[in-house]
Subunit: 669 residues, 2 copies
Amino acid sequence: MADEGMWLFNDLPRQQLKSKYGFEPTAEWARHVMLACVRFNSGGSASFVSSTGLVLTNHHVGSDTLQKLSTPENNYLRDGFYAATREAELKTPDLELNQLVSIDDVTGRVQAAVKDGLSPADAFAARRAVMSQIEKESLDATGLRSDVVTLFGGAKYHLYRYKKYTDVRLVWAPETAAAFFGGDADNFEYPRYCLDVCLFRVYENDEPAQIEHFLKWSETGAGDGELVFVSGNPGRTSRIYTVAALKHLRDKHFPARLDFLRRLEVMLSQYSLEGPEQERRARDDLFSVQNARKAYYGMLAGLQDPDIMGAKQAAEEELLAQVKTDENLQDKQDAWQRIEAAQAARAKLMKRHELLESGMAFRSRLFRIARALVRMAEEDQKPDADRLSEFNEAGRESLLQQLYSTAPVYEDLEIATLADSLSSLAEQLGGDHPLVRRVLAGRSPQQRATQLVTGTRLADVSARRELAESGAEAITASRDPMLRLARLVDKPARNVRKKWEEEVVEAERQAYAAIADVLVATQGTDTYPDATFTLRLAYGTVAGYEENGRPVPPWTTMGGAFGHEQAHESKEPWQLPASWHEHKGDVDLTTPLNFVCTADIIGGNSGSPVINRDAELVGVIFDGNIQSLTSDYIYSDTVARAVSVHASAVKEALRSIHGAGKLADELGK
Amino acid sequence: MADEGMWLFNDLPRQQLKSKYGFEPTAEWARHVMLACVRFNSGGSASFVSSTGLVLTNHHVGSDTLQKLSTPENNYLRDGFYAATREAELKTPDLELNQLVSIDDVTGRVQAAVKDGLSPADAFAARRAVMSQIEKESLDATGLRSDVVTLFGGAKYHLYRYKKYTDVRLVWAPETAAAFFGGDADNFEYPRYCLDVCLFRVYENDEPAQIEHFLKWSETGAGDGELVFVSGNPGRTSRIYTVAALKHLRDKHFPARLDFLRRLEVMLSQYSLEGPEQERRARDDLFSVQNARKAYYGMLAGLQDPDIMGAKQAAEEELLAQVKTDENLQDKQDAWQRIEAAQAARAKLMKRHELLESGMAFRSRLFRIARALVRMAEEDQKPDADRLSEFNEAGRESLLQQLYSTAPVYEDLEIATLADSLSSLAEQLGGDHPLVRRVLAGRSPQQRATQLVTGTRLADVSARRELAESGAEAITASRDPMLRLARLVDKPARNVRKKWEEEVVEAERQAYAAIADVLVATQGTDTYPDATFTLRLAYGTVAGYEENGRPVPPWTTMGGAFGHEQAHESKEPWQLPASWHEHKGDVDLTTPLNFVCTADIIGGNSGSPVINRDAELVGVIFDGNIQSLTSDYIYSDTVARAVSVHASAVKEALRSIHGAGKLADELGK
């Protein structure tokens, strides 16, 4: 039995853990771990690691914030940061951290609201209405952020309540050269040597928050073969996908994403060549794009591997054979055809959906702000239950946190990305397409982007606030060119979104709910839903593996980092930061730096704590190896591994390299 | 009157030159210049610059050869090369240089062979047959390479005869850091500071060839405003293109090329990250791809500029109005619709044509060799006139020169590029397409590429020779996996090629011939055909320009290169080589390094000599500025400029930096 699964905290795999590892998580253990975890809404996982509000995550999860806090004078993303005093801790411009505090099953109420026989449009609307109603009621009753989460593709609905932390301050981050040592070349490779961690602190009422449930620090880490747990928020998996859906990923979705990512990568690389300041401005975006590109290559390669697709095909055929012979499942038989039909809808709609609604044609923070203002004004005139879900009352605080972010807006970078994406719109729809003509308004993409970005007032936070508070009429009357563009494309964008929600989202939700029922009927209830960027528990053991006939040991050490640097002649990106060389003599070079385990993770798990049976922190997830990239749709523990920073390396680096012994002493206490 | 035009050597713009510049090129002048020029068949232009066979071209034209001559121990591409003695000159593995010696108009004979009323298929075949017959007769009669060139889109046909040089040796090349100073960032920018030149020598009978017509060396260069000429081989322009054809470029062709180039760029960059040896192996390919990508961005941006497209549209409407009112032109009226129909055929066929026939699905030198062997064996069984044109007798020597090239084949790079392109085939046709399944033979693209590259014997030149000489049966019987793949895809590739030739090539040739007739009727005969990678003469003046309201002076200096390096803090790619720093004190820093002029050039002109009225060499073309990228379809001398290396910098660098005074003394003598 493999260590597969991203398990719900209200439905842990107690039987498997007991029989395979002789471990029985108590309710207290599970509740403690759940409360000790936090989600970065910017994308990523983390944990409380002190009673004084310290939050440990990956450097690459914090990098979005490090980028926003950096200036031409203080490049914290590249050079790192350490606040020696509380006063020196830096308030972040828009971070929201979520601590899951309760889970309730609301499946019955959701399903009851969606009557049989409704059209897809009505079913979608009814479901959206009841979900927003549940969220609103919960928010009013508890004051907590309340999200209804769709599980098992639509078979179950759970209400997740979160305590929100919005006063989050940066405490410490290492240099990128240490956190992302080996860069794009080593990304997804193993052995690795990355100190991919950083520390924030949550505040309440301008004081460090007092945290009851935080993780203790393991002083030794986990041994080879030891059972470990990963508690975090895996973003998205596709394991329930039918073969038809996987083929859509293989032949349409992944190739299109890769074209888009390569386009962005080349554009941002070119922009970065313009000078060191441009390189600084684009750094985090470029990293994200390169990381995603490498991940998608792996995901696509897996689906092009006949062994993997063959295994999926065989499993599906077996399941269909069972369905055919089981009378109780006869009415589920057409679910697979309905998924196939939904893929045809995806293929037909995807280009316009991506361009207009996902915003690939308008890649600009200022445009996203403009769209939020335009849509918020319109949606707020409707009853809560009828609104586009991101404008529900329950999510308003989080929305405004983003909308009023003080993160810097770089005019030249905005122009570069917007011009490139406007060109992409013209290329994909054709230069003579009426919408393209209206969007470009008689200008070239470059000219139009320049006009929009230099002409809008939306870079100014007070202007956003003023517009948001002045209501729909003022926004309609505004001459701000970016607002006018957002209004211009809103109708076609809403049109394609509506079609997408009905023909793809709702159609798949109903069909996957049927398939989930079949799985329960044929394989039992002891299973986990696909990832949904909500808290899950995975488990596995610390374990090396074999590659090209040679054993890859589970650990690397801090001394190994210096060796890896030397093996690459200290050439970029294999240059450890000056601080490491300066303090090499102070560092215990035998300190473990990274390690691998078999736990089942995916993007979104970045920053997740790795803990032992005693719920002590032994590491922080930061990557999967290249063989794990197929875990989007299939799990294997033969050679796929989760990669973590070892807990000991964090303390050793703080004490011996960063002169932050005081901070190291706070950890786990 | 602008300095527009890439003029035929047998139809020079005598009237314009006389009236605008008071210069009348004599027949002797023209013949001397023509004979002093050579074409690099690998793509590029050059000139004879000594009686002793020295050939001057760009470093980036020679870089293909520098790459092939380089080894892990001697990286001539990066580090440069200098043969202090004749014995040390390095024989190149597959270069062929062509010296144009005569031009004959064969339009009448070609047109007579294509009877009115033939189907497109028969018209294409008849035209191909008469052209190969003319070439064969000429070869037999003169022993010279003989090419029939299609001009004015199909209105005229000229027979070009070339003396071939195939014993070409490398004499000197500077470091890439000097030749391509500023790298991808500075590419197509101005002011520039590049020593983008290198020197070869042609040999005959193992002795330096004695050259009668070579260019003298101007000791002063050309002054501001001075008339200069560029004599070289512009590759391809689209100035006769109708608006429908330009829209196809804008909406289909350029976007597809850019997706392809970005894909290659990312793939080669990733491969290069694997280590210094991989970086060395991929260097020239990566440079070419980045250069093309930047050029296509500029070409696409121009077509997305409403001013440019508006000008094209207005000109076309004016012309169509003239056609309507001129009785003699009534039968040409439908040419524009025929071009539009051909664009629909292009759009329909382009994906399969690019993948299967242009080989985008099989990017591997070993595959190209395999295809050449398979096709040559089949074509050689047909009469010369019926063959695919690249297998005609007239071109056989050149074909074998490439086929038997001793240039190194790198197994890992072959696997990387082939795997990526096989994946591209699967993505574009879909993983379940029968052809994709047959090509991949039950393997993933990576597995299949590895099997093909490690299994073939075609890396061995003697194996190629043996197979080529053993004939069709042996090739059909061969179990070599790459040969078998080439055979497998040959039929579908030939099918799409045939359709392409009939529905696109022949249809456009007939329609553009009609349009060319209209242009002659309405605008006179005093014009030039679109570029065809054959020898042309352009003219213009040395002239700065204005950018963002600031004057850009025409010249830079060698001293300016050091300043440019300092302005970029000597960071890559702004690091001059050690040799420049070592000899900075010896160099006359006021020596002009680069300059711009208004001459009408395009890709393929790289390496063209720039000469003065006395046919003395004053520079070598190596680039256009970013504003010139639209010259594919429209010429402007407002801000578009051709960029050259100044003749004086070549001698100064040889003498003061490279210790090659002896070589400098040979130049122009």
